[in-house]
Subunit: 336 residues, 2 copies
């Protein structure tokens, strides 16, 4: 155990992709827990598209990360010192400890990981915020009925892979959009999507039409831009579009609005945004269900675990925006 | 009564504003009713923004008007010959008889006008499709609660003027957006909007923020473009945007999508399209309520009645797109 705590702090707000100028690597003393607190060693750091939004100054659903503040990040940690009766040394927990090596926290800020329910890294992916986003976005905002056609963009990404499998479990026909043959093969051969569309080599609008003659019923959007427009061109009457993210637009100042949004009018369709935190009081319900499906083998979750040091955080984050990332991106900075 | 029937037919599909090249004036013999039919003299022709969409070739919620077909239009007519036991000579009816002077129809295609309930032209405005659009768009899609802030664009237009008054009757705070001081004065002084914003001389986003500190709860959009973006910048949590139309975008091939649509995500808000025909089985309920409010003086409806001939149809239609139109635009081609 080191006596210093290396931290990644926000040095400047990015325009476009967050390059090295946005970050400052800092070292401080490893903190000491007070009564009622625990000391955590951070093992895994979750990399999420939402981070790009937290780096902006704009008002959003959470306050922006401040300049010189440790970058906000969800983490998987091990308790290495406990001054709380609620947690013991060796316990694994998740929480929002940020991009650093050590952190002091109160048990009320943490969620205990049950290694018997699923392997720990799943708590940063399918059983964590990512899975919760997929579950509540699909079921509570997308409102799919059995037999509905559900189209998912970023389908090989962290959230998208779960959405497609949940829709399939629900009895829907599923179409996933991803970049490149490897990801598309994964969608259909590994995790049961009915069809995959490769946006790098295929005309997305035409392919949706080919697989969904009457149009799609639910479109779960992680990417925005032209792929959102392709979906809007293919709505069935009363379709629901879930706006979960827009990764194609996060690093541009010249955001492209969906030019064919009037398709919502013609098709009496709806486009609705969601933020997972609103469903916090129902996470337990979703975790139980998802863990059950994981055990039954009905639900798979692919993690893209990069092993490195906390100082690899800035470069690892960029993988999210290059299209290279495949599954839930996690930076592992200490062995589990 | 003339023996010829002058008709306005679609000659070519417009790009941009529908100029004279889009129209053909035709004359045919006045038609003769068969058994079970009536002969109608058309008195008033409704001019509606939706007409611009019907002139396009694109798939929409109704089939496009075909080339050489009489232009589709809602009408107020008088029965001048009856071969049906259901309607008598002199009865007033509304229906979709098109831009022409005479028409044969079956009673099942017509709605009888009750002159005791309201003056006949109201059946083309507040008690017709226009009013139905306002009623179901606001209440069924906008889902306003008492005290909600309801913002309406095109607020001095046919639908907008009704939406604002219905929201007020419902106990909401109402903000209308219109062009020019005369219309704005009408909104606040004549029909009870709490605030009016003149988009020609004011910064719409700033003015919405000034009047709705926490953001708007319902935005009823008739115009699209920059005004839709101004509304998106000012959403309260869980806001509902009703997409009723987008008159600023109908005559351009370079449609502007709302660049800040991710405000839907941040604010867990919804944007939903509506088409009034879906509510046909509930028109009766709405007409009864609206007629009651009209009689009580709680609801006013301004009609912009142009007196002329059926051949004035093409020029009159253009008034909708120039911003000159004020209230429900109607072309009257024969005295009531």
């Amino acid at each position: 155990m080191s006596n210093t705590n290396t931290q990644i702090k926000l040095a400047a707000r990015p325009t476009g992709l967050p390059g090295p100028e946005c970050w400052k690597i800092d070292s401080s003393d490893r903190p000491t827990p007070e009564d009622g607190e625990v000391l955590l060693q951070i093992l895994q750091i979750s990399l999420d598209p939402a981070m790009r939004g937290w780096m902006n100054e704009a008002r959003s659903y959470v306050p922006p990360v401040r300049i010189n503040q440790v970058m906000r990040a969800l983490t998987l940690s091990r308790v290495i010192e406990s001054k709380s009766s609620e947690l013991s040394v060796g316990d694994l927990v998740t929480g929002s400890q940020g991009a650093q090596e050590y952190c002091v926290a109160k048990p009320s800020e943490l969620t205990r990981v049950d290694p018997n329910l699923a392997e720990p890294s799943k708590y940063l992916s399918v059983l964590g915020m990512t899975g919760m986003t997929a579950y509540f976005g699909l079921f509570d905002v997308g409102l799919p009925k059995a037999e509905d056609v559900v189209v998912v963009s970023g389908a090989a990404g962290a959230v998208g892979q779960i959405v497609g499998q949940l829709a399939k479990i629900h009895g829907c026909k599923t179409i996933g959009i991803a970049g490149g043959p490897e990801k598309c093969k994964y969608l259909t051969d590994e995790i049961g999507f009915d069809h995959a569309i490769d946006y790098k080599s295929q005309n997305v609008a035409k392919e949706i039409r080919r697989h969904a003659k009457k149009g799609l019923d639910v479109y779960f959007d992680n990417v925005g831009g032209e792929i959102l427009e392709a979906a809007l061109f293919n709505l069935n009457r009363g379709a629901r579009i879930v706006i979960c993210g827009a990764i194609s637009q996060y690093n541009t100042t010249d955001v492209q609005g969906p030019r064919n949004y009037l398709s919502l009018l013609v098709n009496r369709a709806r486009m609705e945004g969601m933020v997972v935190f609103d469903y916090a009081d129902r996470y337990g319900e979703a975790v139980q269900k998802m863990a059950g499906w994981l055990k039954e083998g009905k639900l798979k979750s692919r993690e893209d675990i990069v092993k490195g040091k906390v100082t690899d955080f800035p470069d690892t984050l960029l993988k999210l925006f290059s299209g290279d990332n495949f599954g839930k991106l996690i930076l592992e900075i200490a062995p589990l």
